[in-house]
Symmetry: C2
Subunit: 382 residues, 2 copies
Amino acid sequence: MPNNEEFVVTPYEVRGRVDYDRLRELFGTQPLTEELLARLKRLAGGELHPLLTRGIYYSHRDLASLLDGFEAGRRFFLYSGRGPSGPLHTSHLSQFELCLWFQKRLGLPMYIQITDDEKFWARSGLSREETLRWGLENLYDILAVGFDPKLTHVFFDSKSIASLYPLAIRVARKIPYSTVKAVFGFEPATNIGLVFYTALQTVPCFWPSWAEGTSIPCLIPCGIDQDPHFRLTRDIAEGLGYPKPALLHSRMIPGLLGEAAMSTTGSSADNALFLNDPPKVVERKVRNAFTGGRATVEEQRRLGAVPEICSVWALWRSRFAETEEKFAEITEGCRSGALLCGECKGQLLERIHAFYKEHDAARTRVKEWAETTIVTAAPKEL
Amino acid sequence: MPNNEEFVVTPYEVRGRVDYDRLRELFGTQPLTEELLARLKRLAGGELHPLLTRGIYYSHRDLASLLDGFEAGRRFFLYSGRGPSGPLHTSHLSQFELCLWFQKRLGLPMYIQITDDEKFWARSGLSREETLRWGLENLYDILAVGFDPKLTHVFFDSKSIASLYPLAIRVARKIPYSTVKAVFGFEPATNIGLVFYTALQTVPCFWPSWAEGTSIPCLIPCGIDQDPHFRLTRDIAEGLGYPKPALLHSRMIPGLLGEAAMSTTGSSADNALFLNDPPKVVERKVRNAFTGGRATVEEQRRLGAVPEICSVWALWRSRFAETEEKFAEITEGCRSGALLCGECKGQLLERIHAFYKEHDAARTRVKEWAETTIVTAAPKEL
């Protein structure tokens, strides 16, 4: 758990101004190099997703050997998930959008885990009714990203437990309490559900190998704050006879109020754009968002603004600038002083409103088949 | 966890010469008084089971108020279980025989839990294949006792998890790690499965209330070594809106070699009579069993033997003396010196061989329907 004077990043907390290169060194992960990106681009048919070209995904574990295998004909699968504690915000979709890109470009199966048990254990204020309801609502948002129903499988923990538990039994025996205490910083008062939980988060990494009786590697795109979970998974993988999952790590998307990460538990709901925010609320949040602008118009025209510290630029970067040209135009206009913050926010709001409209329509369409993707049957164990 | 110079009794260990009255005081349970037994006898139609009349069950929690409720028309259910680490020995059947007696006399539903997950977590030398296989084998032995298929339900943890888990999620949030550490003496190296496990052992106590949406009390006949598990259950029951389970505690049946409890993990397999022992092995074990006999025939004729320390007398007492007359005859013959150990063992062996034959036949009959008693569907959660 890196913890110095400047920042803290754990699966349960992101605080301070994160030095992402330093964090990568502390975690001991590999940089996502130009060479690796070029290789991925070639495999993907000549294009890269903006989350890759713009440096938001910047770190990995074992991506190179995963691509070696893929080139030799060994398909892998994608795994990502969500702890349903409330509505999703726009940044939550990024990892799923990257998964979708992999699914479409490389034809890969996708496993999505909805951890309604974990969130109930982690947040004493949440009821089971809430974690179940948010689990389904979040699932609609995730599937609306555009996943292929034929290649996409959902583990909704409380509904999929018959599928997950037999393998979780084997996983849990490999994990001593001392390890989860060290990795997650658990206290004596931590409930025994949360202590157990990481076993269930590990299961999907091995599940296709277990169910199909063969060895299928896994790629997990996730925020770098989730790395500790999967370091633990990687440590026990080979002892269970499964390949270590490969990881692709992103920076955290900063909050609208300038906090380190857009968070559902931030100091204010105004720190994030929730997918169920009505247009007026979106407008207010963006208009009040923290920027890299100067104190006066005159000063900004003269010195330009600072995109690197701007939460609005971070939104353009993460998803709302759909082309590299648009992203360059915004960035240069900002830096040069040609584009003022109010105008930039106005342009962004147009994009956001359009995106929300498309997303809502897609969300309505997936509701029909969402529950059919939930895995409930257990593979025959023996 | 009582632990003094003379004995240790925890859910995971029984050692030393146990002072059962002192243990009851240490655990803070109530004595099973003559008055309570008389009341139970009246409710049961004028007879008591030998396990009750011979002082093997000797302690309880809340039995009186459970019977108050029953007399006022409030039915309760029975719950007992088994951790499948190997073959059952004869003493394992006692708690199920007492349950059967309650089922028959009072017409009560019975829930049996087979904890194949727990045993895999508790014993690093056991494979999943073994805990699954022993789970089924043990279940056949338990059902062979004579339970009514219409009133009997089995939770086989790994197979019933879809039924158990939604309630386990709620239970686990109520139990901090510090509590299980104190109750079970867990170490940092204890795996997170075992840490979580007590949540699953608690679920059956509340499950009928949860599934039927009403409040149904529970009675658990068990060895007093299991009391700590259910003390924890009782502590959280009311916070979840369920009645505290009542308990009926037995002494441990001493091992054939004179150890404190007949145990599958004792120093020697010769310490217990396993239900799959062939007749010759049974014969050898009984012939070698520790007795309360004297050094010579002459001395025994003169002084009599000491039944209280004799493992053979303990077998007569627990199940093999089917009538009170037979039990009195054996006890008096022993104490007076009229009955020598060799002859006593010979008589006992006849009874044991007959019992094994009946049990094997019953076991074959239950195999047909055993798996139909396993609960697999989850009640609709919300």
